[in-house]
Amino acid sequence: MAAAEFETPELREYPIIPKLQKGTMAHSKPFVAKEQFQTPLGYPGELVDNWKQVAIDKMGELTEKYRSLQVFLDSCVKCGACTDKCHYYLGTTDPKNMPVARQDLFRKVYRRYYTLAGKLVPKLVGAEDLTEEVLDDWYTYFHQCSQCRRCSVYCPYGIDTAEISMAAREVMDAVGKGQKYCNEIIGKAQTLGNNLGLPEPALIDTLEGLEEDIEDETGVQVKMPLDVKGAEVLLITPSADFFAEPHIDGLIGYAKVFHEAGISWTMSSYASEAANFGMFIGSYENMQKLALRIRKAAIDLGVKRIVFGECGHAWRVAYSFLNTLAGPFDFLDSNYPVPQHICEVTHGLIQEGKIKLDKSENDHMTLTYHDSCNVARASRMGDTAGGQFTIPRDIIKACCNNFYDMPEYSIKEGTYCCGGGGGLLTDDLIELRVKGAMPRMQALKHVTENNGVTHMAAICAICKSQFSKVFPYYDFTMDQIVSVHQLVSNAIVLTGQNDGKSDEEDSTDAEQAA
């Protein structure tokens, strides 16, 4: 399937609610998973013959297992509050990308088979039979939801489309119509330990290379430990941190923080992945298998704490679900939350004065911060509600002199998804990704024009990959997205580092006259 030509949405000075245009994204579908990716996860290799019955039964099973699904399917009054809240609707204008319309693709089938009114008078209450067209619509539009939960903030009943899209994906997996990108990755992570399928030797090689780079740059031997038994901290980080830009600069930042604070730490080759794609397909079982690898690694390595690197959905699974899926963690040091976010660690160290930061090292940038959706609306940092907003910003402000927030409607709990979350970060969905990024691009453009912002920091591997890919479509450059710990890495003053540190840096780095 050749990528279709498409137009990048226009960025406006002020956001508008677009008029709906039916079917503009009806052609957008990710590749279907082949048997080799389905079978290992316990799903049929292709569409089963009695798929309708299997799907309807699965739907019933899920409404009995998840109160969220049951309540959300019943409660919607079609008030329309969510209709202009989804970045995919705003970017594509396809009405089936309005959260309620997306839910209704599933709800209309639920009503037909599981409610009295839907059985008796389907037309009256918008109930519909499950047909091939409906299944096709499910595949199309439940793969245009990044499970970012923005709609759930604005729904008067807290209906979260993510829950419905997870359920729909689970039903599709059960009938043999899974999505290649997610299922292939889950398979890799369950067998090799990370989404990229990096084997241990490759990891060792990469980490050694990074140690050399840091030493060349700073003159300080900062370690990147792997599988070190008895370390205090087990760091679980998205595997993109091992090779992608700007992720890798974040990883270097974590290493420098641990080094400077004198905290012994290690990564694990067995659990070398923070992201848990089991959540994207709504599969408790597959999500649990991945989570249990982290538990096993922590036990085998005898660590006292678990810390997660910068990753959005991963932090949701870690913060909100890890204790449920793989707990209790009573074998860890109870003085620390399990798990901890790397930002919580760094923030604490800054407050205690255990690491020193030279803000001027980031003077060549004017920064803004993109709240990653699943950190913002599905998790927390620190002790108080909203810590997930203040802690990363506090870190950034401690690392640089120039910081401006994007417009209020587009940050914190109202943040827009990057457009690539929820299992959609694949090239077969590039049109969707570009269009879905529009609301964020518009807000970013606003601060670049009004405040001279040059770079946007983020704490999510998906956001970083997505932005480096879609920035050029909107006349930004790939390197305008940075990791929060990249800023820390730039600013941190390592004990015994070269005085001439900045001399060895890239010539693009503006320098302070020493």
Partner: protein
């Protein structure tokens, strides 16, 4: 007519009570296996209670999302609340003092309620996004409640029914005694529509009323790191 309406009243009440009880029982029995509060979320039960009170009194989330829908929705619901409370006077003898107190407000609240409903209907018809997501039942539900409200307003301000006889009839129903009911057409329509509304309550979107209390994104405490949360079916999964 008195007997027919008595039967319908009893039937509708039974459907409403048992239907809702059945539904609520289902919500209670279905586990919420994962912690999914929409954050920032309260970190204590009292915080959750406060969040919930804000949701059901000032419609906090709706206020964030759409000011017009919030305005019309709020006018409708709080008009309705006052109207319902005012109606208690037809079921109590002597009338409770605070029901007496709200009587004048309750009368005009019926008009406020109609204004809210009208606004919601106009939105549903004229906003393309809302029109797209509307099924016939969504319009009919509004028309049904508008019908109830309009006939009520008519009886309050224009063509009064024989309220003494009506009250005696209603008090009779409460002690399973069928007395005579007034038979003017506006009242008959009013009561018939109310009965219909009661009967469809447990099988329609009116389930949002109990549903909001069971919504995990709003009623869960944000404390997954401190307290392990696990569903019974997930425990079984673990022992496998």
């Amino acid at each position: 007519m008195s007997i027919l309406f008595a039967i319908l009243f009893y039937a509708a009440t039974a459907i409403l009570v048992f239907g809702l009880a059945y539904r609520i029982r289902k919500y209670i029995k279905t586990p919420a296996p994962l912690k999914i509060p929409t954050t920032p979320a309260p970190t204590s039960r009292s915080g959750v209670a406060f969040r919930m009170i804000k949701e059901i009194t000032i419609f906090e989330s709706l206020f964030k999302s759409s000011k017009w829908t919030w305005l019309f929705g709020w006018l409708f619901h709080f008009g309705l609340l006052l109207v319902l409370l005012r109606h208690l006077r037809y079921f109590t003898e002597p009338v409770w003092w605070w029901v007496e107190l709200i009587q004048p407000f309750g009368k005009y609240a019926s008009i406020v309620m109609l204004v809210g409903l009208g606004g919601l209907l106009v939105r549903r018809i004229f906003v393309d996004r809302v029109r797209y997501i509307s099924a016939p039942s969504d319009y009919l539900m509004l028309l049904l409640i508008i019908g109830i409200g309009a006939t009520g307003v008519l009886m309050t301000f224009v063509t009064h029914t024989d309220i003494v006889t009506l009250k005696s009839y209603l008090l009779g129903l409460m002690v399973f005694e069928i007395r005579t009911m007034p038979t003017d057409i506006v009242l008959i329509i009013h009561l018939a529509l109310v009965i219909l509304l009661m009967a469809i309550f447990p099988i329609s979107k009116l389930l949002h009323a109990p549903g909001v209390f069971f919504s995990p994104t709003r009623n869960q405490v944000d404390n997954p790191r401190e307290q392990r949360h696990i569903a019974p079916w997930a425990v079984k999964l673990e022992s496998k």
